[in-house]
């Protein structure tokens, strides 16, 4: 059982499954849906042993697989996970099941292509998280854009073409620099192994260049200010499933890159330029929150709130140097990094749930404008209860998962600098401001118009999705230890790498 190639399975099962679904497009939409569900559930089940069989005592890569791929350039098919990437794979396999169910009766046009896109994308995203070879990583990283491009481009809203091109060019711009960096590193090492990249000695100038090139590649994905403006447009145009995957998983890829590439490969440059990341993260938290307050479109509001929440992850990752300088030890740095990682997972649940909620309303009202809503609780009380719960999680209420990551990062930030913690903690106020104002205008109040009066409350399929997400949000909030526990060894190792000079 433990010898099964779990990582290859979570990558290739959905990709092959996606092909099968495509081939079966004439078999009738219902069958296509059931096949897709079966595949996504199977992949999710296959990914569970990654957690249950995971050895928390080591920072070494686990479930590794290696095979030569392009021997001429020493490119290999190398897979493996540690405590940083493993939870993200589970998040991916889980959310694919959710989007398959979420699109069940909503998507009526080209069902097979829709389902196949998500399945194939799942495999590719898992590939990004599991790849230990630079080229393999890059291939998955780029290939992943295609299904998302199709999802927004085919099932998107009115302005989908502008949004897809913006999305594609933005992310592509960053990726090209990533490729250059990978090639540079190949010439230093002689192969494309990411772990070898992490160990090689590199001079300061080269480190700074690597850092900046990768920063651009990853910052676009996260996205960080000022390369974030593709996200609100992409979200607004994307169908609900696309938004869920975009928010819950795709944004995490950039943050993952920070930890897998930037910090271990260029630790001295990270130390030199940590102020840059911290400043951009704080801008994301403060500036973007203000922008979120005045949004008139629900999806844009949540998109902006996503950017602000991702700011916590990037902030948490780069506190280590400030803490070292301020207190003379790295005590508290792992708290920040683990906090950032928890924030990634938690934000996946919460933003996924928020986008799903907006999708539920959109399916009925065909509008995302806040001003078209008001008093939804009168006609959809069950839905309103869920929406308020997820909103509260979005404001970081203790007892929900939204609290855990932010709490850890703020606690860690305080050890670095009072003002960093101060600015980060303003999210308590501004995060609550934009979320509660949204609830007030959409959910509460008198029934605003006849469309609201005609709304039907959520059906069983919708309740199922909302309940599962609600359970996870609460479970992670009440008892985060099972998640944090798997990270310790890898994060401790990372902190060590971060403060070990390569000069």
């Amino acid at each position: 059982m433990t010898d099964l190639p779990f990582l290859s399975l979570v990558i290739w099962l959905p990709i092959i499954g996606g092909m099968i679904v495509l081939a079966a497009h004439n078999a009738g939409d219902n069958l296509v849906r059931w096949i897709s569900l079966a595949i996504s559930v199977l992949v999710f089940l296959v990914s569970i042993p990654l957690y249950t069989l995971f050895d928390t005592a080591t920072h070494e890569m686990q479930f590794t697989e290696t095979a030569s791929w392009i021997p001429a350039f020493n490119i290999s098919y190398a897979l493996g996970v540690d405590g940083i990437s493993m939870p993200l794979i589970l998040l991916t396999t889980f959310f694919t099941v959710i989007v398959v169910i979420a699109g069940w009766e909503i998507i009526k046009d080209r069902v097979a292509l829709y389902m196949a896109s998500f399945l194939i994308m799942e495999g590719m995203m898992n590939g990004v998280f599991a790849a230990l070879d630079g080229v393999l990583f890059y291939v998955f990283w780029e290939a992943m854009l295609v299904p998302m491009f199709l999802i927004i481009g085919i099932w998107g809203g009115a302005d989908r073409i502008y949004a897809t091109i913006k999305f594609f060019l933005y992310t592509f711009l960053g990726s090209v620099l990533l490729l250059v960096t990978l090639i540079y590193l190949y010439f230093q090492v002689g192969n494309f192994s990411i772990l070898a990249f992490q160990d090689v000695q590199i001079g300061m100038t080269a480190q700074i260049l690597i850092f900046l090139a990768m920063l651009l590649a990853f910052a676009v994905k996260i996205p960080m200010w000022p390369v974030h403006t593709w996200l609100p447009d992409a979200h607004v145009q994307a169908p609900t499933g696309g938004s869920i995957i975009l928010a819950a998983i795709m944004l995490k890829l950039g943050a993952y890159g920070f930890l897998r590439f930037m910090v271990p490969i260029a630790p001295d440059a990270s130390q030199e330029l940590d102020w840059l990341i911290i400043t951009l993260s704080l801008i994301a938290i403060v500036y973007i929150s203000f922008v979120a307050i005045v949004q008139e479109d629900m999806k844009k509001l949540i998109a902006y709130s996503s950017i602000a929440h991702m700011g916590f992850a990037t902030l948490g990752f780069f506190l280590v140097y400030g803490i070292l300088e301020n207190t003379g030890s790295t005590n508290g740095a792992a708290l920040g990094i683990e906090g950032g990682l928890v924030q990634l997972i938690s934000h996946g649940f919460i933003s996924g749930a928020m986008f799903y909620c907006i999708g539920v309303m959109y399916d009925r009202m065909h509008s995302r404008r806040i001003s078209d809503y008001g008093g939804v609780v009168n006609t959809m009380p069950v839905f309103a209860a869920f929406f308020v719960l997820f909103s509260m999680a979005n404001t970081g209420l203790p007892g929900t998962s939204g609290f855990v990551g932010e709490f850890m990062v703020i606690l860690s930030a305080f050890q670095s600098n009072f003002w960093i913690a101060f600015l980060a903690a303003t999210t308590l106020i501004f995060g609550a401001a934009y979320t509660l104002w949204l609830i007030k205008r959409v959910i509460f109040g008198e029934i605003a118009n006849e469309n609201i009066a005609a709304l039907k409350d959520v059906n069983r399929r919708e309740i199922f999705i909302l309940s599962v997400l609600a359970f996870l949000v609460l479970a992670l909030g009440m008892y985060p230890d099972p998640l944090v526990e798997v990270m310790h060894s890898s994060v401790d190792h990372l902190v060590e790498q971060a403060v070990t000079s390569k000069l």
Partner: protein, 650 residues
């Protein structure tokens, strides 16, 4: 005992879940039985706890229930600390909550959201118990925010009312401002004490007392002072101290039972409880104590003034709550923690009583809350009348009633205190006594005495409220009278809080008063010879004169002092300022950053700008691709010449 404590906390939670999730299935009576039973179990178990811990003298219970998370060597836990302070708070919370549950059966009888309401108040009881029973800052913060959440849900309970859903958002946001400080305070605790566990933090407090930190470069701040003030900002939000008091009056938009439970008796006193719990830290920073003292004094007096001009029966009581919270805060600042907690307890009983009595009046008046339209209700509702009388006498500190002992102890304590700001606070408190008596009896006389000013229809239907409403009133009236007599000795001058509260000998004002304390009677006699008693009497007499004897005078006074009236009517301008500056300011800034920063700057200039630039360049470059052979030939020749000139050695 661990099981008992778990039961105390979980019983209301289970009740809440049953009433909330299965409300439709089990129906209205099923919901109120589930919720009330849960709280009743919790109350009984609290009694057992009190008997065990306080009367039985059991050792302090301080244990982890489960480890929430371990990260970076820090252990974050959920656990209970049960000592005399906790036992007292548990009893107060569950008792008032039980009374409110029973009362609600009558008060909310016809409300369509009946089950939801029970679910919320039980959830509140759970959250509040988690707060007071915490043995660490993490769980404290959990309870702290959870009570805030339930308060939010309950203020906006009637979600169709625009004023209610505005008030609940305002309450949550203002509380979040406090929590912002509170969270930073917790971060400071973790950084300097290396733990969030109370016992470990308190044990380390002396060694941290002399550390300094730089917040502004070059200026050294005492760590303890910074930490305590940050934590106190949290208390200012929750316990509605100036300038974070603005949410409490608006919270009266919620149903009356929750005004009694949450916005008078329990939740708003969380800040007081927290500071008292942290006494080993606050004692080590005179600066922090002084801040607490002055903020409390300002709240006590100036919020009292606002009570004078209110015409909504609930708002009068709300402003009196603000003012009384100020008294408790002052007690903390003067290091008379025990007196603050004593007042917290007596206040919980008599203020819940006043609110529930006010609610009883409101039912009788068919949800009319304007006291100018009441009058002469005494003969229609005798039980409510006498309960309101007891509550008011306790509130103004009439000798013998519970409020007298606690309030007098605070005033005496401040009188004896040497903390900077104590003399200012003393003046505020003594004047505050007059104000309290005045507005309390102004309301009392306007409601129950004088001319019957209600319309004919309402008058015909006036009657005493049903038993389910009046019995909780009577049960609350009993401790409102007697609890002070019994509790003052052990609480203030005995060793009830010996283990729980730490006071430096040089700050110990209660010990100073205690030297001359001979017993309850002596305390009462002494009280009648001091200024506050005469101030209270003066307040009642003035109210009687102005509102019963010469009812024409108030209008004239208002006319004469229009300017002052306007200031009070506008709540000193806090709301206007907050709306204009914070609310409108944030929206303006947000719009600016969005339109100018994101749309114009980044999208317009950088993103679409680079697309335009590429287009512009390609148009220019296209001019080179003319298709004429001689153009290309010419370019080749020029190129060749350049290359040659580069490589040829001249």
């Amino acid at each position: 005992m661990k099981l008992v404590y778990l039961g105390v906390v979980l019983a209301p939670l289970i009740g809440s879940i049953i009433a909330g999730v299965f409300g439709k299935v089990i129906g209205r009576s099923g919901a109120h039985w589930a919720a009330t039973l849960g709280v009743a179990i919790s109350f009984v178990l609290s009694l057992i706890t009190f008997n065990h811990v306080v009367l039985g003298g059991a050792p302090v219970f301080d244990e982890t229930i489960y480890t929430w998370m371990v990260s970076d060597g820090f252990s974050f836990e959920v656990g209970f600390l049960v000592d005399n302070l906790t036992a007292m708070m548990m009893l107060v919370v569950t008792f008032v909550s039980l009374m409110v549950h029973i009362y609600t059966i009558g008060y909310m009888h016809d409300d369509p959201g009946y089950q939801r309401f029970f679910s919320y108040i039980s959830l509140f009881t759970f959250s509040m118990l988690m707060l007071v029973m915490a043995n660490n800052f993490l769980q404290l913060f959990f309870g702290w925010e959870a009570v805030g959440l339930v308060s939010y849900l309950l203020i906006g309970f009637w979600y169709k009312k625009e004023t209610a859903i505005f008030a609940n958002m305002k309450a949550f946001l203002v509380n979040r401002v406090g929590d912002f400080g509170f969270l930073l305070g917790i971060a400071a605790v973790l950084m300097y004490f290396g733990s969030l566990n109370y016992a470990e933090v308190f044990a380390d407090a002396p060694s941290v007392a002399n550390l300094t930190m730089e917040i502004i470069p070059g200026v050294e701040w005492n760590v303890m002072t910074v930490t305590c003030i940050l934590l106190f900002i949290g208390a200012m939000g929750k316990s509605a101290q100036v300038p974070l008091h603005v949410w409490l009056p608006d919270s009266m938009e919620g149903p009356t039972p929750i005004s009694a439970l949450i916005h008078a008796a329990t939740m708003v006193t969380a800040g007081i409880f927290m500071v008292a719990r942290m006494s080993p830290m606050y004692e080590l920073s005179v600066t922090a104590l002084s801040v607490v003292l002055v903020i409390g004094a300002i709240t006590a007096l100036f919020m009292g003034f606002l009570g004078i001009i209110q015409n909504d029966i609930k708002r009068v009581v709300a402003y009196s709550t603000l003012s009384q919270l100020g008294y408790m805060t002052v007690a903390l600042g003067a290091s008379a923690y025990a007196a603050g907690l004593f007042h917290l307890m007596t206040h919980a009983f008599f203020k819940a009583l006043l609110f529930l009595a006010a609610g009883s009046v409101i039912i009788a008046m068919h949800h009319e809350q304007d006291i100018r339209k009441m009058g002469g209700l005494k003969k229609y509702m005798p039980i409510t009348y006498w309960c309101m009388m007891i509550g008011s006498l306790a509130l103004i500190g009439f000798p013998g009633f519970s409020g007298f002992f606690s309030k007098d102890a605070i005033i005496e304590g401040v009188h004896a205190s040497q903390i900077p700001g104590a003399s200012f606070a003393y003046v505020c408190l003594v004047l505050g006594v007059f104000v309290t008596a005045f507005y309390s009896f102004r309301m009392f006389f306007l409601v129950f005495h004088g001319k019957e000013r209600m319309d004919k229809h309402t008058k015909e239907h006036l009657h005493e409220s049903p038993k389910v409403v009046t019995i909780p009133l009577i049960l609350l009236a009993i401790p409102s009278i007697f609890i002070g007599l019994f509790a003052i000795g052990p609480l203030l001058f005995g060793d009830f809080f010996a283990k729980e509260i730490f006071v430096l000998p040089e700050h110990d004002v209660l010990a100073k008063i205690g030297e001359s304390y001979t017993g309850v009677l002596g305390f009462m006699l002494h009280g009648m010879m001091t200024l506050p008693f005469w101030m209270a009497l003066g307040g009642v007499l003035s109210a009687w004169f102005l509102y019963l004897k010469r009812p024409d005078l108030p209008a004239q006074i208002k006319q004469r002092f229009q300017f002052i009236y306007n200031i009070l009517d506008k709540n000193y301008g806090f709301d206007i300022f907050n709306n204009a500056f914070f609310a409108a300011g944030s929206r303006g800034l947000g719009r600016l950053l969005w339109r100018k920063g994101d749309e114009k700057g980044i999208d317009g200039f950088m993103v679409n700008g680079s697309a335009r630039a590429i287009g512009w360049i390609s148009v220019r470059v296209r001019n080179l691709q003319t298709g004429y052979l001689y153009h290309y030939a010419f370019a080749m020749i020029v190129g060749l010449m350049l290359l040659l000139s580069w490589y040829l050695p001249w």
